[in-house]
């Protein structure tokens, strides 16, 4: 539909007939451009409309949850529903902490302990392994790397049963309890996780070798190069790994469900679920308040590190 090739080049002054043609052409161009502009505008409006609708759909459940969490029990039941709670029942949030059998503070503490140990462990160990895959050329590296990628495909449910048996056996035979402690949840993190190793390896590969060569000339050991040169340069990637593994712990449900037994050791995810089974579907306001409490730290973390988050997820797909 473009008329670009109809416009004569300005360097050669056109004869009369041609000039006329050019003028007509220009007029056509103008209306054409105006039409195109209008169509572009319409298109943009449509996209805005679609996006606003979609964003509303994404947000409404949140708002509904927050609204419910601040209502009295009788208001929750009111039909048609009220969006703005009146009166606002802030003490729903207090009730979560004071309820019988609820240990929200303890569950938060437990989750934070597991998260801290996991984040530290997986970031350190994955970085070490990733350095081996990225910067040292040795026989068998390709095969081992392929095996590592393949292990990413193994679903956790496949190993959880025999891991349970192994942890139980260790408890019976070594005098060191595993089941019913946090160990099954964080100790494996200290042996690197395939996903994080892969992510860090991709990042390390982009660091030029000249830096490490220079340090090697100066007599720096391989581990010294890793710690003093690569790690400081890899801070963004390390942050991504730390952030993702924190989120994974916060989110995890199945592993704590399998390996943790007493309610004093529940993580927040387990605690929230036990809250539901106690309350049934009678106290939606309290359930929603508890859910909001579990969500808020994640949202805060996200808004503090939004860019890191988005770029981190993007790299997993692009480099994959």
């Amino acid at each position: 539909m473009t008329n670009a090739h109809n416009i004569p080049t300005p360097q050669t002054p056109p004869p009369d007939s041609l000039r006329h043609q050019a003028l007509v052409g220009q007029a056509v161009m103008h209306t054409h451009l105006a039409m195109q502009k209008r169509r572009r505008l319409m298109q943009q409006l449509l996209i805005h409309a679609a996006l606003i609708l979609i964003c509303a759909a994404a947000l409404v459940p949140f708002l509904w949850m927050v609204s419910t969490s601040l209502k009295s029990n009788s208001h929750v039941m009111s039909n048609p529903p009220q969006w703005i709670p009146h009166p606002v029942q802030w003490h729903n949030y207090k009730a979560i902490f004071t309820r019988h059998n609820s240990n929200f503070l303890l569950w938060t503490r437990n989750t934070l302990i597991i998260a801290l140990l996991t984040v530290l462990g997986t970031t350190i160990s994955s970085a070490i392994v990733a350095y081996g895959f990225a910067k040292i050329k040795f026989r068998g590296r390709g095969v081992l790397f392929a095996i590592m990628l393949a292990t990413m495909m193994i679903p956790f449910p496949v190993t959880m049963v025999s891991l349970f048996i192994i942890f139980r056996w260790l408890g019976d035979h070594t005098g060191m309890q595993w089941l019913g402690t946090f160990k099954p949840l964080w100790v494996p993190a200290w042996f690197g996780s395939a996903f994080n190793i892969f992510l860090l390896r991709q990042f390390f590969m982009t660091i030029p070798d000249e830096l490490s060569e220079a340090a090697r000339m100066d007599g720096c050991s391989e581990f010294g190069i890793f710690v003093r040169i690569i790690l400081p340069l890899a801070k963004p990637a390390l942050t991504v790994v730390a952030l993702f593994s924190f989120m994974a712990v916060w989110n995890d449900f199945l592993a704590p469900l399998v390996y943790i037994q007493r309610s004093q050791q529940y993580t927040l995810a387990l605690g929230l679920q036990s809250f539901y089974s106690q309350l049934g579907n009678t106290s939606w306001n309290l359930l929603m308040a508890a859910s909001v409490l579990v969500i808020v730290p994640v949202l805060v973390l996200f808004f503090m590190a939004q860019k890191t988050f988005i770029e981190g997820i993007a790299t997993t797909g692009i480099k994959g």
Partner: protein
């Protein structure tokens, strides 16, 4: 000390750096998978030592109708949620890749739901789907639908309800698509413009082939993820009503930790592993017909 060759030195260095993973993959992956292969041929009620029973568990599985129900449900869930989820996520990414104002706000909002921990979103959707007071049915009734579906308490609607709610948290997939879309070389679009291609043709002939590796990545992750879905049905429906949402991983979990049939659970674990591997291998095989890597 004899001088080692450079090759040997590098090999030892490499092994040293890889050692955490080498130990980890042995202890936390290889040994458990090997053990579960052995247990899958045993009768092992946990409180007593395992007794070898040959193919019994696998024979039992073939005639176990709960196994077939859970397998069918899982495949159904994957078939309903994965392809549609991938299309919706791609459509969202295309919208979010348009050249308009306020994009970063839209992107943030669409990404937010995928941050919500599974247990919390399960609670939220339990409430949304509540047949009497949930927001969805209240809205449907106000739109004049007198008898909206009872969602999670109906054998017919419970599964679609789980699928629908999975579309709420596609943010991760969208972000990965978006990154792919932003990597498509501009020249390709310019060339298509010169050829007079319209938008649908540009999407079909330029965008999709260019981001096919990203689509493939999302497909693989989706297959692996959806086949092990557990948390949402475990919390929201306990697999019901009448096993309508009883998924494979729930059956595995129940066998291991409710019925304490460790042998049978191990056999189920192996079948799940083989299923995931087969489907991923299938996806890899088809990929050579539709995945185009740049510069190859």
């Amino acid at each position: 000390m004899p001088r080692m060759s450079r090759q040997t030195v590098n090999f030892l260095k490499g092994m040293a750096f890889l050692s955490p993973w080498l130990v980890g993959v042995l202890v936390f992956t290889t040994i458990p998978i090997g053990l579960s292969l052995y247990y899958s041929f045993c009768n092992y009620p946990l409180v007593q030592p395992p007794v070898f029973v040959g193919w019994h568990n696998y024979n039992y599985m073939i005639h176990d109708h709960v196994f077939w129900i859970s397998l069918k449900n899982t495949l159904l869930y994957a078939l309903m949620s994965l392809p549609m989820g991938m299309v919706i996520a791609l459509a969202l990414a295309l919208l979010l890749n348009a050249n308009i104002r306020g994009l970063s706000i839209y992107r943030t909002i669409i990404f937010l739901p995928s941050l919500i921990p599974l247990v919390a979103s399960a609670m939220l959707w339990l409430w949304m789907y509540n047949s009497k007071l949930g927001l969805i049915n209240v809205t449907l009734r106000s739109l004049g639908i007198a008898h909206p579906p009872p969602w999670l308490t109906s054998t017919q609607w419970a599964m679609p309800a789980l699928v629908l709610m999975s579309f709420w948290s596609l943010g991760n997939t969208v972000v990965i698509y978006l990154a792919g879309l932003q990597d498509v070389p501009r020249e390709l679009y310019e060339a298509a413009d010169l050829d007079g291609a319209n938008l649908p043709r540009k999407i079909w002939h330029v965008t999709l082939p260019s981001i096919s590796p990203v689509i493939f990545f999302n497909l693989i992750m989706g297959i692996i993820g959806s086949l092990q879905t557990f948390t949402q049905p475990f919390i929201m429906t306990q697999g019901g009503p009448i096993r309508a949402t009883y998924l494979y991983t729930m059956y595995l979990y129940d066998n291991a930790f409710t019925f304490l049939r460790m042998g049978y659970a191990s056999a189920l674990a192996w079948v799940q592993l083989l299923l995931v591997l087969t489907l991923t291998a299938l996806a890899f095989w088809t990929s050579r017909f539709w995945v185009h890597y740049q510069g190859k």
